[in-house]
Symmetry: C2
Subunit: 488 residues, 2 copies
């Protein structure tokens, strides 16, 4: 395929995407396929000769569409949103086309430098403490990572490196294994699995602490655990705090947790994957109160800030710790400016190479403007509030967690079985897609505002289906009860 | 920006990319900027109101282009190639547009399933042992990772998990730290830094072993090290072998190393980031001989197989070890088919979310066909051989490592200083871009065939520059010598 054909095919693909997104409401959000469906549809070896691209285009509807989960359907209410905006898509087309890999400053100066400035733009929108901003501090800065998981892991690994370094300095005979056996990380039972997984990868003990009635990890809980561990001779070193948990969008109490981390020389990482984006709106900024105590902080513009996957924004207070934790000098990568004024981002991340991801962040922030991005957040929150009001108006239901942002967690009052049946019926019906969850043995349904195309009518549509299925569940359970009564 | 505007802007961006790539030969490969150049060119906060996209487009030439390293210039001969083909770009446009995240099978069945089949297509092209293929074994399979670094790390972490599990089974009182202090990984001094870094992250000791005169890690070297470590009571558990080292494209001797790994219950991971792609040509397949002993294997289609970054192909012999190493059950992600017949790829990788990257692999393999991809490899190797013949014809130069694929490592005979000056002059001249390297205190220049646009005329052009700069170096050094003689 030469450049001329690419111009034609590129237009065709852009139109395919535009058509897909414009008509996505007509598709059921979840595909109706069973595992292994795709293997039967295509050959089991690559063709020897190149094919005409028309064949490839023709196969999209035949092979891909039947097995695609439609995350941008207005009836998709599962997990959390995944952003998908047109300016971001344009940024990715450009990033791909330039194809310049930015592992060091010299390997693509524009990539490193735009990223630093964009992370500052975003940091200012979030009113982050100035020690996180590259332009306003000597120590801090931001980077685009591929995921919250990678961010939580990098933070834990940096904290681990630092605590081992300090301990071995004072106890030169201590082996790294001996240090490791004493290290303890903490997180809440409601936080994302990525924190626990980071600890598994870091091979450190992690204590999963209980949340309070509002789903928050509280200072007293952490303090008690830290004291217990210290009394045993162990070394608390890392807290993975969560702002906007996946299960029900609850918020750890950073203001209480932060000083405990500071007092105990623990690294506080804040995972605000979903909820963090809302903090560009002044009225939601309070949920980050206490962030001034954090050593690192991450949120996903690829979730709720109109930037396509992948784009996790991570800030650190001390970028030297990031650069230094796993620094390996590599002759082929030396350049006159190594580390002089600009970071070599390869040190900050797990992968070595990196795409030019700040382009899409730049395009999005300029195309929407801060006010435009705030409007998308506010619209989603208002739709969630609308759904909440529908749930509250039906006395058979209860709300499981305070609705602060775009997620409504709810259930039929009563036992879990009833709610599992409700979920099953909604899934079988197939017109909307939600994912259930469970906290402290309480099963509930999660209704997330995901697609940007979702409107009030879609929320009403979803609620009508939930009610209809609830009617069935209740009728079934009454039927059974009546049956028992009749025959009893 | 609505879908209609996206259709227009998308065409504009596709044309911008096509124009850029068609005229890239007119740009110097390295930008002429100093660190901090970009910050002066744009505002230091995001705009409050959204801007017209024309402003953004206008800024590309003003802000980005001056600081861009042109990896796809025919005069770019640094590092190793980064692929950038039109079919791959189309795949990425589609992947972005669909915006469906494939962390579990259910979250996007098409994503998981196409990936499995594409990894089998590619595995068959490489004549991998059938135990790596999803369709031909019960235990093996392939996945697209974001980088070779992530692959080497995941392999090391799986190996670590497994060895700890086994040891603790027989020694229940042994702590993980006690096991860790005994674990030893190995790699060659010539391998990519990602292996050493994986060990640092995994917190295990790594021994960096010497290579032979041809740059290969040999069986006897590994065997000696393993014996030494066992004699000390340590536990060898991982070898990061390298096929096509970054420094000078040398090859570890897999046939010798493999059986030693097997005999000592060590995980053999093969990092063939660059060179692996060449093995789709039968005449180069021999460099993978011995791969049947490996537990995991990775290469980068985003380097030399026409697939844009990121796309690292990784195969494992035992996918249960990958799924199980850091398995965390997560209620919200349960689906009826969890792990039944299809993997949930979130377990196999560091990040949680994942883009639909197999689309670009599919598009590339179909558009080029196996024979088309083989032709791109053969063309690059033949250009490298041509450059080698030019070097060999000039008796002032020497070739530093056998030219097997697309990299030529060479130097002026004599001391390092002369070669450092040569490199400096080429850099100052700026018409071509190469990166120097150093092995065993020998400094040399690396000439890699990178861009698909590079032709024989570009190779001749580069050689003319190298010769002209070499003339200067030699004249300078004669002048200095004469000067010393005169005044001495």
């Amino acid at each position: 395929m030469d450049a001329e054909e690419f111009r034609t095919r590129g237009r065709q693909m852009v139109d395919y995407v535009a058509d897909y997104l414009e008509t996505i409401g007509s598709r059921r959000p979840l595909p109706d396929v069973t595992p292994g469906y795709l293997r039967e549809l295509i050959p089991n070896t690559a063709p020897d000769k190149g094919e005409n691209f028309n064949n490839v285009m023709a196969d999209l509807d035949r092979v891909i569409m039947p097995g695609l989960t439609h995350w941008h359907s207005p009836q998709f209410h599962a997990y959390f949103p995944a952003s998908n905006s047109f300016p971001a898509l344009l940024g990715d087309i450009l990033s791909g086309g330039l194809g310049a890999i930015g592992f060091t400053w010299a390997s693509n100066p524009a990539c490193t430098e735009l990223e630093l400035v964009m992370m500052d733009w975003l940091g200012k929108m979030l009113q982050l403490p100035s020690h996180f901003l590259y332009s306003e501090s000597v120590t801090g800065g931001g980077i685009i990572q591929s995921s919250s998981s990678e961010s939580a892991l990098m933070a834990l690994l940096c904290a681990r490196t630092e605590v081992i370094r300090k301990l071995q300095k004072h106890n030169p005979d201590m082996s790294k294994g001996q240090v490791l056996d004493k290290l303890v990380a903490y997180t809440s039972i409601e936080s994302h699995s990525c924190i626990e997984r980071a600890a598994m990868i870091g091979l450190v003990t992690i204590r999963v602490l209980p949340s309070d009635d509002h789903g928050a990890l509280r200072g007293a809980t952490l303090e008690k655990a830290v004291k217990e561990d210290k009394a045993k001779g162990n070394i608390p070193f890392y807290l993975g705090a969560c702002i906007g948990t996946t299960t029900r969008c609850t918020f750890d109490n950073l203001k209480e947790l932060g000083p405990i981390c500071t007092d105990n020389n623990m690294w506080m990482h804040i995972d605000a994957a979903y909820a963090g984006s809302a903090c560009i709106c002044p009225e939601f900024r309070y949920i980050l109160d206490g962030i001034e105590h954090a050593d690192s902080f991450a949120l996903n513009p690829h979730k709720w800030l109109q930037v396509n996957h992948d784009c996790t924004a991570m800030w650190v207070k001390d970028k030297d710790l990031m650069e230094g934790a796993f620094h390996i000098d590599y002759y082929i990568l030396r350049h006159v400016n190594n580390g002089v004024r600009m970071p070599d981002f390869r040190h900050w991340q797990i992968p070595f190479g990196r795409r030019f991801r700040s382009l899409k962040l730049w395009f999005v922030m300029r195309s929407f403007g801060v006010s435009g991005l705030q409007a998308t957040i506010r619209k989603d929150v208002s739709l969630a509030k609308h759904f909440e009001s529908l749930v509250r108006a039906d006395s058979r239901f209860e709300i499981v967690a305070e609705v602060v942002l775009g997620l409504v967690c709810f259930r039929l009052k009563g036992d879990n079985n009833k709610n599992e049946r409700l979920n099953q019926l909604i899934k079988e019906d197939g017109r909307i897609h939600m994912t259930p969850s469970k906290v402290k043995d309480m099963y509930f349904l999660r209704f997330a505002i995901c697609a940007t195309r979702t409107q009030e009518a879609d929320v009403n549509f979803a609620w009508d289906i939930v009610q209809a299925m609830a009617n069935k569940v209740i009728a079934m359970s009454n039927g059974i009860t009546n049956g028992f009564t009749k025959h009893g």
